[in-house]
Amino acid sequence: MKEEFGDGTGEACFLFSHTHWDHIQGFMYFEPFYRAGNKVQVVARGSHDKRLQQVFAGQVESDYFSYGLGGLKADLSWRGVQEGDCFEVGPYKISTVRLNHPGIALAYRVDYGEKSFIYMTDTAPYDDQLLGEGFHIRKPDTDPKILAQIETYGAQVEEFVKGADFLLYDTFFTLDQYKANPHWGHSTPDEGIRLARQGGVPRFYNYHHHPEAWDDDLEGRTRDYQCRLGGSDLEIGLAREGQSVDI
């Protein structure tokens, strides 16, 4: 608000991985929304733009919030997208891929000039389950069509990260936690590091930390993973509030 958004001349675009509560709860508290003139585009997975607006309006129905979307003064536009869509936001080229999460989440790849950044949360690895509209765990009698989908979507994710400069990834779980809760739709550093190495991504950052992963745990784990990689060039980092990263 100290810059152009304070003058009502700001422009911004939000990309939402999905609309589960922890990802949208700050929406109504974004101050630039309360200055007329600001232009904000909201992008999330949705069958159509109007549906997306309904989802955000539903978040602030009178049972849940003091006022509705009508209380926002900025010029908001809604853009429902699907996995596989590519579009542009200002100078950024954005592409999307389907993630393995209840209700389906999207990862975004942002290409700008020669540089590219991937935002990939919330997702389980595509190994033993398919999450989305339904819920399938790999069993001896699992429908081969489901197994084929797991395979296909997994390959799409691998292809998606290929050659990116930076991967910000859902590392909610340790390996043991993941094994106990594979259906939650969250992943581990192990899977993220595998994707980064296989895709030739030089920088991997842990993100979407578990609420009970204390600072010391996260720092210790990050060091351990870096050590385990030995001489590899892959940088393993920890996303921290307030930190900025140049790509």
């Binding site: 608000m1 304070g6 609309t19 589960h20 509560w21 949208i24 709860q25 700050g26 109504m28 508290y29 101050e31 309360y34 200055r35 989802v55 539903g58 978040q59 129905e61 009178s62 049972d63 849940y64 919030f65 003091s66 006022y67 209380g71 999460h101 209840p102 209700g103 939650w184 739709g185 609420p211 009970e212 509030e241």
Partner: protein
Amino acid sequence: MRLRFWGVRGALAATGAEFQRVGGNTPCVEVRDRDDELLILDAGIGAYWLGRQLLSGPHGRGQGKATLLFSHTHWDHIQGFPFFVPAFIPGNDVRVFGGGVDHLEDTLEGQMDPTYSPLVSLSNLGAQVEIGGLEENPVLEVGAMRVTHATFPNGPHQVVGYRVEEGDRSLCYICEVDHPPDGLRAEVVELARGCDLLIHESYYTDEELDSLPPNLSLAGELGPPPAGHSSYGQATSVALEAGVKRLLYFYHHPDREDDAVDAQIAAQRARVAAAGATLEIESAREGTEIEI
């Protein structure tokens, strides 16, 4: 009665070193009677940490009971409910009341809708969850505790204030309320009358409240319209007017750093002393246990 604060912050969780002494989780208060019977006031993010703690006792074995009372159903008061682990454990018994709406079950069902939550439906909670109405329960018994309430308008919404009594001890919980500009909301003063402990929201400072332009909030013309909140000074006034013994300020603004909360309390103490009153005042702080 014993109580413990698991969340004392209003609107949004506040993270960072500046909020560690007061605490950053949204509202949740644990209340216990002499037999350890459990009553919970609001289920902000603090309810997650309360739930984790409960797992080491009967709630971890599916033998626990809890009664959860909502002041209202705005997000910061219910956002911890889907993360309250005892509600997922078969055998546990969770009773839920309040919210100031006549359709609490629908409201909570809407919270679990697959658009917003992986839980999809209340029916996926493993515990026995019973959602009851306060109208049929003007006096609610929770173990040795007796709960009464007052419902009052707050802007377009209804909010429920609670009074909990055990023997001759009493506490009153008010979160949130917007007092009229020229006085105090009578229902609130009446509910708090003579209680041992008053927990009263204090989202704003007096200066912020005075300088709110019509339809605009703390951030002045840059912020959202007022949600209907009160100030530290109004909380003190309620406590003095109602003859309360002890007041804890609660539901601090997410921007209010520890030092700023301390400064507010120091100013209110000066006011209480100048008035020659014996009212004891402090901030509710996460993790603090209080015996009444």
